[in-house]
């Protein structure tokens, strides 16, 4: 029996630690620890509720846009505005969130996940004129592999040609991310931390110029998604098809849905969304979304036991570091008492099961190509495929939304701040189900709680001892080489983990010669 620590997050103080116990090359047990206390909600207490949207965006450097939408939906509902947002405002929010998802998913596949499958070092043998590849070649020659190494060696299966092609796309994808972010700023004003999404709608106006400017970038991105991103995901899947059976996890998926297609229904769990709300399990049984079934447990988390089993709207953040039996700062959220995974896969699987024709086509075409059943979606490759397909699904929907915008008409509605109110905002961020809850007293925030996607996916055990989704996805995995547990890296990365939030202090180490103390 041996203990492996999968902690590649060494450079920034290791906010996510994953520890597995192996026996005869099989993972027997796994513990996922969020190593950073997330008490950011405490900062909001006593503030003007309208501040929430500004502050929560600062929780996270990567998902600020998702947080801005969740917070704003939360405030809309608390202020009684949920069904009153002008169509322009609703659509612009969709466009802003859509742009963020597109940029994010491209980034995740090429710049985080692909390196698990694509051998960048093969570019050393490249003899052509592509400036991007030659630039990578230069890096390799200098031994400066920067963002590419160290990697887990031992299981690179793609042909040299595909390795080189995909690396060229890695460089191209950097460009595409930038396009997505530019697109976001057209209506969002600024990236990161957009200024436009506010309770009541958005602060940006609709003009024909903005629509054209957005569409121009969107077309380029759609072309990239269709002719590069999706083919690359399929090419990887072709050669690593065993990963359709690896990393299944808990087998339950939860989606809050996203991209509102109507504004008239104040109930976020029922309104029509492009990607649908609900639950689904490996037997493809679906359920409707009922947020009352969400409770958070803390028996294995560093919080006082008295705060266990609470609904997020009544959530408490009472830290108790070092508590016996606890191993994470993350709470363990459960839906209907059971373990649920969140992420693009959840939304796409729920929408697929609803029979929505576009999504059904997209997913069926992938499944038939690999002669796989829908159960294969619950896997490492299923997660990557769902992420690529949701990117296409939203990008293909956005031109229609742009046409529905009405230049010159309002995108915002005025409101009164209530004395006392409760609110809830639910939306799927790029990493999955994101919920915000607020309680307002005397026009001030009395309580604010966020349950973020990585809390669902990377949570520790609950009070009943049920391991979290990533823990379950790791348990039972066969490891070829304990010194190089690439299987585990691939499983964890397929969830697009997001726990190392917030700290970006530069820690110069090694060569410190050039540092000048100024004063």
């Amino acid at each position: 029996m041996s203990k492996l620590i999968v902690d590649p997050v060494t450079r920034i103080e290791g906010h996510l630690k994953i520890e597995v116990i192996t026996e005869n090359g099989v993972v027997k047990d796994a513990h996922s620890s969020g190593m950073m206390f997330r008490g950011i909600e405490l900062i909001l207490r006593g503030r003007d509720p309208r501040d929430a949207q500004r502050y929560v965006q600062r929780i996270c450097g990567v998902c600020p846009t998702s947080h801005s939408i969740a917070a704003t939906l939360n405030l809309d509902s608390a202020f009684g505005l949920a069904d009153k947002i002008p169509d322009n405002g609703r659509i612009i929010r969709n466009l802003i969130l859509g742009a963020a998802h597109i940029a994010d998913h491209i980034l995740h596949f090429y710049h985080l996940a692909a390196l698990d499958y694509v051998d960048v070092t093969k570019v050393a043998g490249y003899n052509g004129n592509d400036p991007g590849l030659n630039s990578v070649k230069e890096f390799i020659k200098r031994g400066e592999l920067g963002p590419f190494v160290p990697r887990y060696e031992g299981d690179y299966r793609l042909s040299d040609q595909i390795n080189i092609e995909t690396t060229a796309h890695y460089v191209k994808a950097l460009e595409m991310r930038r396009k997505g972010q530019e697109m976001l700023t057209i209506f969002g004003g600024k990236m990161p931390h957009n200024m436009a999404v506010v309770p009541g709608g958005v602060t940006s106006t609709v003009t024909v110029d903005k629509i054209a400017s957005f569409l121009w970038r969107l077309n380029e991105l759609r072309d990239f998604i269709d002719s590069v991103y999706i083919p690359d995901v399929l090419a990887v899947a072709e050669v690593y098809s065993d990963y359709f059976e690896i990393g299944t996890g808990c087998g339950n998926l939860l989606s809050y849905g996203l991209w509102d297609l109507e504004g008239g229904n104040p109930d976020y769990t029922k309104r029509k969304r492009l990607v649908k709300q609900g639950t689904i399990s490996t037997d493809l049984k679906t359920g409707t979304l009922d947020p009352n079934k969400i409770l958070e447990y803390v028996k294995h988390s560093w919080y006082d036991d008295s705060s266990t089993g609470k609904h997020p709207s009544k959530g408490m953040t009472e830290p108790e570091y070092g508590k016996k039996g606890a191993y994470s700062w993350s709470k363990a959220p459960r839906y209907d008492g059971k373990v649920y995974e969140v992420g693009p896969l959840a939304g796409m699987a729920v929408t697929y099961a609803s029979g929505e024709p576009t999504v059904k086509n997209l997913i069926d075409s992938v499944l038939s190509r690999f002669k796989a059943s829908p159960k294969a979606l619950f896997s490492v490759l299923g997660r990557h495929a769902a992420r690529a397909l949701i990117t296409k699904y939203v990008a293909d929907s956005m031109p229609g939304w742009l046409l529905q915008l009405k230049p010159g008409e309002p995108a915002y509605i005025d409101y009164e701040l209530p004395n006392e109110a409760m609110g809830m905002g639910l939306v799927d961020g790029a990493r999955g189900a994101l919920g915000h809850w607020i309680e307002i007293k005397d026009k001030k925030i009395a309580n604010y709680q966020c349950v973020v996607p990585s809390t669902w996916n990377l949570c520790p055990r609950d009070d009943k001892g049920q391991p979290g989704p990533v823990e379950q996805a790791l348990i039972g995995t066969k490891i070829k080489d304990e010194n190089n547990p690439f299987e585990l890296g691939r499983i964890v990365r397929s969830f697009d983990p997001c726990l190392a939030c917030a700290i970006h202090v530069i820690t110069p180490k090694g060569r410190t010669l050039g540092i000048h103390k100024v004063c």
Partner: protein, 201 residues
């Protein structure tokens, strides 16, 4: 760029200016899309980038500083950007940047409030494979700009040794007390870069 102008966070709480409840709607306001630069023509030559988390006291010192600078610097040559906790500033920095000045908390274990200045070459570049987006740090971001042949001609980091990294909006007195000194340092950096560019012309 429009989005650099809004480096200041709008807050409703005490200590911050209370904006009008009704957002600007006049058609006369500038359309940010028209100001988005897609070519390198006419780009700012100097970019000051503040990095950090405003919610974690001294960790956010870079953002505090660019917010201060935004109201002081009016040089059209200078882009001031609040990058917040966004680890990937590739898309925020213009192609033709001559000088990138990064302001961030820098931890070496020295006395809190110690100010450092170093060129990017001095930062350790050994990095772990990114398992999460947040691991794409300053050095990786710069490497990616290099992959696209878009790296700034020169990059300096002006760093401040933090004292307290914990939930809260205020800076520790040790760091707060150094802000004006750091502002001076950045202004000096800008001036020197401008002068060097003049000479090169």
């Amino acid at each position: 760029m429009e989005y650099t102008k809004s480096a200041k966070t709008i807050c409703h709480s005490e200590g911050a200016k209370r904006p009008k409840t009704r957002p600007e709607r006049s058609e006369g306001t500038r359309d940010p899309s028209l100001l988005l630069r897609v070519t390198s023509e006419g780009s700012s030559k100097i970019t000051v980038l503040g990095i950090g988390n405003l919610l974690l006291k001294d960790e956010g010192v870079g953002v505090h500083l660019v917010q201060k600078l935004a109201s002081i610097v009016s040089d059209a040559n200078v882009n001031i950007i609040d990058a917040g906790t966004y680890p990937d500033f590739l898309s925020l920095v213009d192609d033709s940047t001559d000088k990138l000045i990064i302001i961030d908390a820098v931890k070496t274990g020295d006395k809190p409030g110690t100010i450092y200045r170093f060129s990017f070459d001095d930062v350790d570049l050994d990095s772990a494979p990114p398992i999460s987006l947040h691991d794409i740090g300053v050095s990786d971001s710069l490497k990616m700009t290099a992959l696209l042949n878009r790296q700034p001609k020169s990059t300096v980091v002006i760093g401040i040794e933090p004292k307290t990294i914990d939930f809260g909006l205020e800076l520790s007195p040790e760091v707060e007390g150094k802000l004006s000194e750091i502002v001076k340092l950045v202004l000096q950096e800008i001036e020197e870069t401008n002068r060097a560019m003049e000479v090169n012309k």
